[in-house]
Symmetry: C2
Subunit: 203 residues, 2 copies
Amino acid sequence: MSKSGRATYHHGDLRQALLKSATELLDAEGIEGLSIRATARAAGVSHAAPVNHFADRKGLLTALAAGFFGEIWGLAVEKMSVAPPGEARLVAFAEAMIDYSLAHPHRFRLLWRRDLLEVTDVRLGLAMDALYDRLLAELEGLGKPMRFDPETYAIAVWSLVHGYVSMRLDGNLVAANDARTGEPRHRTIIAALISGADVPAPR
Amino acid sequence: MSKSGRATYHHGDLRQALLKSATELLDAEGIEGLSIRATARAAGVSHAAPVNHFADRKGLLTALAAGFFGEIWGLAVEKMSVAPPGEARLVAFAEAMIDYSLAHPHRFRLLWRRDLLEVTDVRLGLAMDALYDRLLAELEGLGKPMRFDPETYAIAVWSLVHGYVSMRLDGNLVAANDARTGEPRHRTIIAALISGADVPAPR
DNA sequence: CTGGCATATTGACAGTGTCAATTCCCACGA
DNA sequence: TCGTGGGAATTGACACTGTCAATATGCCAG
């Protein structure tokens, strides 16, 4: 049979199959439910088979996370490329992360669980840096005098987005829109931050 | 003997003893090492004794987290009370969270692990709200016209501090000081955010 | 065709959270 | 004073986890 089981003793592309099963498990049941054994079961393979492709649970989760960062990066690049230069690009960056995170909350949570990830992993580092650097580059290219180090602002935006999404996912946000302006809060916050970045006008 | 063991069959104040042991375990080994059984061992009691005081692991961690929020609240109130009104109070708030978190990194991490906490717990909710409301009240009392909802700024400051601390704990911050001004980055970020909050001067 | 080697299986181990049954002993009412 | 009820702690068990070692399988290079 080759419908649900596999025909041969060797799987053929178990690594990919495990990543797929793991992602489905993650989306469906959260990080808790994503055990090596459950992933192996879902892929129709014995409980110790994954060891050939991932050193341990950290290894599996790390590979997942790297992929997710990559997906967000793609989304961010896409959104930013159609936005006019300037502040709108930063909002686009934020929206990429926010959209992805609201669509896949458990993936978002995994990304920041550094205790579960192999933080020294090269692929993970590259994937994460690619995203962060995209943001940093945009800030460096803003082309207006700023009061502080671009990296300071990158940290701020990065943190803001992370915190904002966390609060929304946890249901800690009364409303997603600013009560004063009616705009989505993430726009508001970034606007405030960036306009605060201007060198104060001579008075 | 009453030196290391206890004299009586009943412990007397096992709840408190468990919280103490759990805190020590947490500080020493992180959340991973903080199992119910290890906590019971450290308190010199059988592996199932804690069930009489905490429904399950979540219950234990939730009680811990509520206590930690309380400690931070105390620190924040203290620091803010000696700061001049205005932006300095917000910086004081941030410094309270930052100082506490750098001193007890594992406690900080626990506070945001909502998957491990009983998020509906009343005590936890009160402890967390007390801290957040302290920040919100300060923003509402700033006494200058702001472009946006105070809650929007509360979310921003809350997120900024959380993100900033996370990055510092993870070693992802190249330098703690702004390259341009030499000031600690958290001051810088908050300054930018709050000055961006001003209603733009008529031009 | 035949080794060698990557891949997959099976079985075992220690550790976990959580339950049920049991033992202990303190405090309260008769 | 004497039970005795019930909270507190113990013991033992279960299913689950990650990880390791030993074994079985089958593809591919020589």
